[in-house]
Symmetry: C2
Subunit: 635 residues, 2 copies
């Protein structure tokens, strides 16, 4: 089968209302306000070496740890997000701000290439002494991704040069040689960045270094994190950390090819699997691919929230055990759903199977997008599936990783819509884009027009420069039944294979494909292993998971509402809400709380008739505090 | 109204099957095995001053904290529990073990009276420098309670003498004087012990010191914990702790009389309220009493599990917000329910109101008793109300506070059954006891015979040495409807007032009171504010809360079972289970899990007919691992 590859996000224009609004918000509100926060919280000052101003807001933990060790990564991610945004619309002010940061990074870099502003500013003698906890490679990875994105958008390579020097330093420091540390980062990320650098430059040494980090991970005895801990202890530098001896936390408990269960910190896991899938494709490594597929099945079958949230536990910001998916206390970090999108995209390009695109879409419209407020300046770090009313979006977070992860996702979302092969085009997502793709020896202008995800009525104009035969692969979402496809009004027969319907023909300028994806309201039930959701149901329409929020259901906590099994669910376009959305509503059974005074009693609650209105989950908590529930008790 | 006071536990013989079995188990299994664990884990060695063996098992946390600072209290509580047990049956071996501990304590005590083995063995220069975290007074309190119990049982006052010297040292060290620390303990407990010492010795100075600690608590500015923290910082002794600035954790955020909401660490809270209620009674302090009543209402109306478990959160081992009562993650520390019993008993003797005895009984038979395994050698520290099957009892705990709290409770449970006044006797609990009580100028032998809590058929023989008129007050439990009382076969008319039915007559030798407390199976519903329990029901019979456990419901997780609203609940005596208990069972709806393969799907689970069998909650997790649920989904 032909090899499908992503096209660059910079080559895709977002034209549909849904993503246009999100992108505009990120451009106008999120990117500038994030820069302001980076200043306000001292992150930008932390680059002012050799004597950064003392960090006032974040005293170091007693055990020696501080979130400031992540700060380089936050700045790197902001530049990455801003660069994606700039590809849609250049902005001199933002570019000047980025250049100022690059000035600082350039000045901070040591002659040997080292560039970590936390260590340089605070404890330069300890560099490379604690890869387990202190994120040097993680930071380097995000900085490198930022540098690549900035270069791709602007063509300016000053920061990329800086980062390539840093990568050379890293390559000298870590590796299999006798004088090198045989190590890897406690927080995976640099592997993804190195593979991007390889793809940008074609230099295999970058792919090799990523491969080294992935292959070295989890080897023991001795375990690298123990080796470096012993070194620290000799120097009196050790501090106790949750991570000590907890190899699962960083997915370093086993060599990666032997891992079959998704464990530990969710973002670490997703970043690692992303790199593994990338390497499986680049190296044609069947063992890595098999490990990726096994891990994919594990998370899909036992560990993913219906919103594509990942990692139920705040304790380890990660995974616990099969079917442990508590709702109110769900951690489901925004970063983890964003990273699941990265992984799903890599899996999709290992194997063009709609199941990966289904998950990518689910995470995009639900668990990831829920992390960004409607106004573009407030965030969820954790994305619970139920609230008693106390949950509230944050203007910023002590550890602001999620803020820039969601902005870089939205600003680059165009890159997920379409893939290309030498003899075909695959349309993975819908929502209104235009692009031009080289395939089958010609350039094909593709314009997809729709009001997706509100409607499944989709039009795709295919305009090759010259007539050409190639495959047009249309993803038929896994949630869709009864899809209808036509070319120039002629119905296309045939069934989708692995989630894609393939139309092979000689395409000509002016060809129009129409796609009708019926979008009824659906009830979703959870495997009874998820004991929290027994007797409960979720509403979903198309790719959107719905929730019941107090703002649409005034009169007390929404947990008072139960949805009868046989209640008809109405689909209502609501132009008055959030610039036009679709809500779902149904007759409900409503508990009458008025006759309750005690905590317990022997008579059940009185129940009456009520109505239940649900809105897309990603929009919750944009209208003040209020209760919310995704899994609605059935009556 | 007459003042009712508890009678001493040593004056009550437990004769009913239920408590006799628990007491025998504690005597034969729990007390000896706890001593063995105290040895095995190094607690007994920690008394071997001046050079205790190095603590191998419990490395100190990086922030300087170690659970070893509690160890004196654990040993004190073991002696207290053992002493209560000895009052039922002397045991030379146990007594020799206690004497050996007292030898160590006596040798360890400094000439000035100071006696804390952690500080003496590890950092003597730091004594009294961190009352917030390091539990010196808490330890002293438990040691003092142990010394009092040992003296009451054996008449030996060597340890009591040691502890009285320590109390004098404490009195010199802490207090209002210019050279004294104006402080109190971060973990309340010593107040209870000092009031006990006052009641034993009649020396008002002990009551005064308890009053000082209670009155001083929460005064600010400056807050005592800040004053001592600043002192430590000057000396370089400070370590960061969760407790820093978190005054609610230790209920020192406000002067106690101004506290209206139950907050913070649950055991700390309950111990404090216990002391406050004691002092309210001793001092006739209306402000303290009012605070106690307000706090009581708060916990009863918004914060108590149906099992009388307290404190939903593991994070602070304590309280969060109103109606936050998650089931699977319930912390509900055994110690907290034990301490609720202490508080309820004090409230009951401030105001002989059955509502306090109802809660005392609920905690006793459910949230507290669940902490001790059937075999008497395994424990729950946390007492969740739902399990996916992973919960398991512990043979010991890093912080073994709960183990000895439950053993001292069971060994002294006789002390809760009956109260006396100068003109009356109140029977608070049922279950088979005999005692002799002085009232109305005579000695009254009272023997209560029943198979309670399995049956509400109760017989009370009243045998005064001489005929005497007095009140016999019989508690009619709050859960009981249709209670019937007769004296010598003659029905007693009249209604209970505040939960007690009063029979005032001239009692004569041979009088027999019979009490019939109907015990139907009941359904209990939670206030809809408890969002976790909406659509769920708990089964209860008499004082026992029931749970559905996999051992009685084989075929998969019990969460598959739903109880129809109209299903008849059968009451079944089961002589084959746990030496004879009563189970509840009903027709149920059972989810068929066999056709599930995915994590989510659009069709609901198939459901079939099933049966549901419930057993008393306190017995759960005695037959291996398995799922369990207290709040059953209704169908």
């Amino acid at each position: 089968m032909s090899q499908y590859l992503p096209i660059r996000f910079v080559d895709v224009r977002l034209e549909g209302d849904f993503w246009r609004e999100r992108l505009d918000t990120v451009l106008k509100r999120t990117i500038p306000s994030q820069h302001a926060k980076l200043g306000e919280y001292g992150l930008l000052d932390s680059l002012k070496l050799p004597q950064p101003p003392p960090p006032l807001r974040f005293p170091r933990h007693a055990n020696g740890f501080t979130v400031q060790v992540f700060w380089d990564s936050d700045i790197g991610k902001w530049i990455e997000a801003a660069s994606y945004a700039l590809s849609h619309r250049r902005d001199a002010d933002i570019e000047a701000k980025i250049e100022a940061v690059i000035d600082d990074f350039e000045k901070a870099q040591l002659p040997d290439g080292y560039l970590n502003c936390w260590y340089l500013g605070h404890e330069p003698e300890k560099r490379w002494s604690n890869l387990r906890d202190n994120h040097e490679l993680y930071n380097a990875g995000h900085m490198l991704e930022g540098a690549i994105a900035y270069y791709e958008t602007t063509g300016r390579r000053r920061w990329l040069d800086v980062m390539e020097r840093y990568v050379e330093h890293i390559r000298r420091t870590l590796g299999p040689g006798p004088d090198q540390k045989h190590g890897y980062c406690g927080h995976q990320e640099i592997e993804i960045a190195l593979i991007k650098l390889y793809r940008l430059t074609g230099e295999k040494k970058h792919l090799d270094l990523a491969t080294y980090f992935i292959n070295e991970r989890g080897k023991q005895p001795p375990h690298f994190f123990d080796v470096e801990r012993e070194e620290r202890e000799k120097k009196g530098w050790e501090f106790q950390r949750y991570t000590q001896g907890n190899y699962e936390y960083s997915q370093s408990h086993l060599p990666v090819r032997e891992q079959t269960k998704v464990v530990g910190h969710a973002v670490r896991a997703m970043y690692m699997y992303t790199a593994m899938a990338d390497l499986a494709a680049e190296l044609g490594d069947a063992g890595l691919r098999q490990a990726c597929e096994t891990l994919w099945d594990d998370v899909m079958e036992t560990k993913m929230y219906v919103t594509a949230g990942l990692g139920p536990s705040a304790h380890n910001e990660g995974f616990t055990f099969d079917y442990d998916l508590p709702n109110q206390t769900a951690y489901a970090e925004t970063c983890a759903s964003v990273a699941l999108i990265f992984w799903a995209q890599r899996m999709l390009h290992l194997d063009l199977n709609g199941k990966y695109a289904d998950t990518l879409e689910l995470a995009l419209f639900n668990g990831a997008l829920s992390g960004l407020s409607r106004d573009g300046e407030h965030y969820f770090y954790a994305n619970p599936l139920e609230s008693n009313g106390s949950a509230e979006r944050w203007a910023w977070h002590t550890c602001p990783c999620c803020t820039m992860n969601v902005s870089r996702l939205v600003a680059s979302v165009g890159g997920y819509f379409v893939s290309r092969a030498d003899d075909g085009i695959a349309v993975n997502l819908y929502g209104g884009i235009s692009t031009t793709i080289e395939t089958a020896g010609t350039r094909v202008a593709l314009r997809e027009t729709s009001n997706y995800p509100w409607s499944g009525d989709i039009r795709i104009a295919i305009d090759p420069e010259t007539d050409a035969r190639f495959d047009l692969k249309l993803r038929i979402p896994g949630w869709c039944r009864g899809a209808k496809v036509a070319v120039n009004g002629q119905a296309v027969t045939g069934n989708p294979v692995n989630g894609y319907l393939t139309i092979n023909r000689v395409w000509q300028k002016g060809d129009v494909v129409t796609l009708d994806l019926p979008m009824p309201a659906e009830r979703i039930y959870a495997n009874p292993g998820v004991i929290m959701d027994v007797g409960r149901v979720t509403l979903k329409r198309g790719p959107l998971v719905y929730c019941v929020e107090e703002a649409d259901n005034p009169g007390g906590r929404v947990q008072r509402l139960r949805l009868p099994r046989n209640a008809q669910v109405q689909i209502t376009p609501r132009d008055d809400l959030f610039d036009g959305i679709v809500t779902l509503s149904a007759d409900a059974v409503a508990i009458d709380e008025s006759d309750w005074s005690t905590l317990y009693r022997t008579t059940p609650s009185r129940e009456g008739k009520g109505t239940l209105t649900a809105l897309p989950y990603y929009l919750w908590a944009n209208r003040g505090q209020g209760s919310m529930v995704v899994w609605i008790p059935e009556a």
